[in-house]
Amino acid sequence: MASNAELKSDAIFDLMKHFLETDEGKKVAKKVNLVYQFNIAPKKLGHDEVAYTVDLKNGEVKKGAVEGKPDATFSFKDEDFVKVSMGKMNPQIAFMRGAMKIKGSLSAAQKFTPDIFPKPSKM
């Protein structure tokens, strides 16, 4: 249920979750085949972070940290994550600006690109 303080990224992860149930979603998951963790901060990087697991091995998205070790962990501000997932900001640029922080394997982090996210449609 939505509350006033909900993160925008929530919508993206929700969409991702449904997307991974489709044929194309399964294809994308199979192509990446990694487990990512996203730490999303409402305002300031590293503060009040909410963790999400995007498991592209099993095609699952859930709130909360990865059980075990993620292949790569990304930290974002809410706004920036939305921009990156919608292709408004390139991950390289996000990284360069310090809008995205990465932990974990490099080759795993590299496979994180805007095209693994489904795009939200507009009413």
């Binding site: 939505a2 969409l15 997307f19 489709t22 408004k88 080759s107 507009k122």
Partner: protein
């Protein structure tokens, strides 16, 4: 490579509080020098470049020459060496504008949080005559003092020695300040005589209580033989300059084996570079390299990033002459990645696969101020060593050496934390996979995007604050009845034209709610929610109870994932509704909860099940909470009552798409487009639905169609780009980036 060290210095050498990498001049020089000789042809584009640079094969001999040179004179030689690209660049720099350089420096300093009120004050005043009083903690004093030294270059006014409190600088600090100020002064005062420069530097050093004996003689090689010898002696341990590669290796092992002096190496290393500075530099470049792996070319990244900073700084200069200067063009070209100066390549043909790796590796390391360079100033030596021993062995050697130098525990720990071997393995893997292939163009494009983003940053922030942005050229300004014209155009489906006419109307009558409302709707249908929100806000201001405006604002904010704002307007819709207003207690609007609002709307729907609008708002609300099944039901109910509402069909489609029922969504969009063929949003949504089903070729056609009708639909451009890459149509990326619709439409007709 010594050149780089001089310009960048170690971190300890920088103004306290900054790291050396925050100095764009140094960093640029760094990137340039670190990456100079591969593409000589491109170098010729540097303005004021007079001589050509060395060929690849010549590189060794050049280095040897540098190595044989006396360390004491090395500085000058590096600076003035006619073949050094670095000095080429610096000369080009010098010849442009002294003040710009100093300003750039100030700019950089000011970008950091103000070090002290004095600095702030001082940095902004361009009058170098006033010498401020210096007090406060040593770091601040030193910082402001160095500022004033830099400022003194503005007018070429002699810099006077100033009494300072005891700063407690270490020998290493002093040496760094000495080195750097000497170099910097030569840039600042390039038009002045040697005597003047020396006087300036000496005044600075005197004030800082730095022994300037060494300084005094260093810039004048050959004049004081004795001192020079003394200098060589004192620096001999520190810089393994005069040894060829093998000699260096030998010396390295010797030093390791020498039990009496186990710390010397680490110590001198620390002295030279500063303990923490090195670590942070390493970390930085390590992180940067993560990014590189994607972009494929560390060289372009570092260089472009540095040049971008510089270009940005330089662009602040208002002087039109300077703005048109070749130098600025050059720098901005560099920053856009149009110009790439590649690494000083040492690529003998005999390289095996390992050698290839080593070269790549070297390339990576050279550009950013990496430990590899810092470790052995003329880094090509390092390369030689690498090639001789193979990278793994070299790393082992380094590790051993590292343990010897355990004095500096901190960086050793940091270093091991970074899992060097993992990284190396990873990198080798990457190279093996060819991940570094042609992705450099990708990178350049990304960079372009970034610059565009910067340029439009102000606009964007205006729009996100709800400020409406008017078009520049508007033929409808002066039209006798722009509102009527706008309505007419809107009805004909000429949305972009309608936008212009309606803009003319609201310019004429800023309080015309209908003008703003229709403008907002035109923007929403044109797939631009930011402008739609901005226009609707004005309509809302002019007429706070207009239900259509409130609903439109609710929808647009929902599209932008802005929950709280969307909820506010949707609740407003209920509150101002003549029939349902009684349901909505005004006090609730202070603290809105989704559940409450949804409950009230359900009550309203029960009250008037035949009112399509209630179902529409309810559908939007369910979109907000992502209860898509309920939303779809609401919209379908509304459609039974209003089957010809094209925007309602689109709402249904978008909801279905967001709950990944893409096939149904496409059907709904088609309905909307049958009713309104120029509905840009529906075309773009079609593209999204095809893309989400992996049908990228189809999605491209729909995006292009949408963009043909509204080239300002930024989202569609971004999605088009993603679809082009997914469909392996990188050949059209250029057309996409340059927004060349003619080419795209020809290639992807619908």
């Amino acid at each position: 490579m010594a050149m780089r060290e001089l310009v960048t210095g170690g971190a300890a050498c920088a103004v306290p509080g900054s790291s050396s990498s925050s100095n764009p001049l140094g960093a640029l020089a760094n990137a340039l020098i670190g990456s100079s000789s591969k593409t000589q042809g491109r170098l010729n584009e540097i303005p004021a470049s007079t001589s050509t640079a060395s060929e690849g094969g010549q590189f060794y001999s050049e280095i040897d020459e540098h190595l044989r040179a006396l360390p004491g004179s090395k500085f000058d030689q590096q600076l003035l060496h006619p073949n050094a690209q670095g000095s080429e660049f610096l000369r080009g720099f010098r010849s442009t504008d002294q003040n710009a350089l100093a300003e750039a420096w100030n700019e950089v300093q000011l970008q950091r949080p103000p070090v002290s009120p004095q600095v702030d004050l001082y940095g902004r005043t361009s009058s170098p005559q006033t010498q401020p009083s210096f007090d406060g903690p040593p770091q601040r004093v030193l910082s402001s003092f160095l500022h004033s030294f830099v400022d003194s270059s503005h007018g070429g006014i002699p810099f006077l020695p100033t009494p300072l409190p005891l700063l407690g600088l270490s020998e290493g600090d002093k040496q760094c300040i000495r080195d750097r100020s000497s170099i910097m002064a030569r840039h600042f005062f390039a038009d002045k005589s040697e005597e003047f420069i020396n006087a300036q530097v000496n005044a600075l050093l005197l004030s800082l209580d730095i022994d300037n004996d060494v300084q005094g003689k260093r810039p004048l090689p050959g004049r004081f033989r004795e001192l020079e010898d003394y200098w060589n002696e004192s620096q001999g341990v520190l810089r393994h300059g005069p040894h060829a590669a093998d000699g260096w290796v030998a010396e390295f092992s010797q030093q390791r084996a020498e039990p009496s002096n186990p710390d010397a190496w680490a110590h001198s290393f620390e002295q030279q570079h500063g303990a923490n500075g090195w670590v942070s530099e390493f970390e930085q470049s390590q992180l940067a390299s993560v990014d590189q792996m994607r972009g494929g070319s560390i060289a372009s990244l570092a260089t472009m990033e540095q040049t971008r900073m510089l270009a940005h700084t330089l662009a602040q200069n208002d002087d039109p002459k300077f703005q048109n200067s070749k130098f600025l063009q050059f720098v901005s070209k560099m920053s856009r990645g149009e110009l790439i100066i590649d690494d000083n390549q040492v690529k003998p043909n005999t390289l095996s696969a390992t050698g290839n790796w080593a070269t790549e590796y070297q390339q990576q390391y050279n550009v950013t101020p990496m430990w590899a360079d810092e470790f052995a100033p003329p880094s090509s030596k390092l390369c030689v060593i690498q090639l001789a021993h193979g990278p793994d062995r070299w790393i082992n050697e380094f590790t051993t050496g590292k343990e010897q130098g355990s004095v500096n525990d901190q960086w050793v720990n940091e270093f091991s934390k970074l899992h060097m071997n993992d990284w190396v393995e990873e990198f080798g893997h990457q190279v093996g996979e060819g991940a570094l292939g042609d992705s450099s163009t990708d990178w350049a494009n990304a960079y372009d995007e970034f610059l565009n983003e910067q340029v439009s940053a102000k606009q964007q922030s205006d729009a996100s604050r709800g400020v409406y942005i008017f078009s520049d050229m508007n033929p409808y300004v002066g039209h006798p009845n722009p509102l009527k014209e706008g309505q007419e155009l809107f009805r004909k489906g000429l949305l972009s034209e309608a936008v212009l006419a309606l803009e003319a109307e609201v310019l004429k009558n800023p309080d015309n709610a209908e003008g703003w409302r229709l403008l907002g709707i035109a923007h929403a249908e044109n797939d631009d929610d930011q402008q739609a929100i901005a226009a609707m806000m004005r309509a809302h201001e002019a007429d706070p109870t207009n239900l259509e405006v409130l609903l439109a604002l609710g929808v647009s904010h929902t599209n932008e994932l802005e929950q709280a704002a969307a909820l506010k307007y949707l609740y407003g819709w209920l509150r101002y509704h003549p029939k349902f207003g009684t349901l909505a207690p005004p006090e609730l609007s202070d603290s809105l909860y989704y559940a409450d609002v949804a409950r009230l709307f359900n009550e309203a729907a029960q009250m008037s099940p035949e009112d399509a609008d209630v179902h529409i708002v309810l559908g939007v609300l369910y979109n907000l909470s992502r209860e898509y099944d309920k939303a779809i039901t609401s919209f379908q109910t509304a459609l039974k009552l209003k089957p010809n509402d094209y925007s309602l069909w689109n709402k249904l489609g978008a909801t279905q798409a967001n709950s990944v029922q893409s096939a149904d969504a496409i059907f709904a969009y088609q309905h909307a487009l049958d009713l309104k063929p120029n509905y840009v949003r529906a075309w773009a949504n079609m593209g999204i639905s095809y893309a989400n089903q992996g049908m990228y070729e189809e999605s491209i056609c729909y995006y292009v169609r949408a963009l043909a009708m509204n080239p300002k639909a930024d989202n569609a451009w971004q999605y088009l780009r993603i679809s082009l890459s997914c469909a392996s149509r990188s050949d059209m990326l250029e057309a996409c980036d340059s927004r060349n619709l003619d080419v795209l439409q020809k290639e992807f007709p619908l």
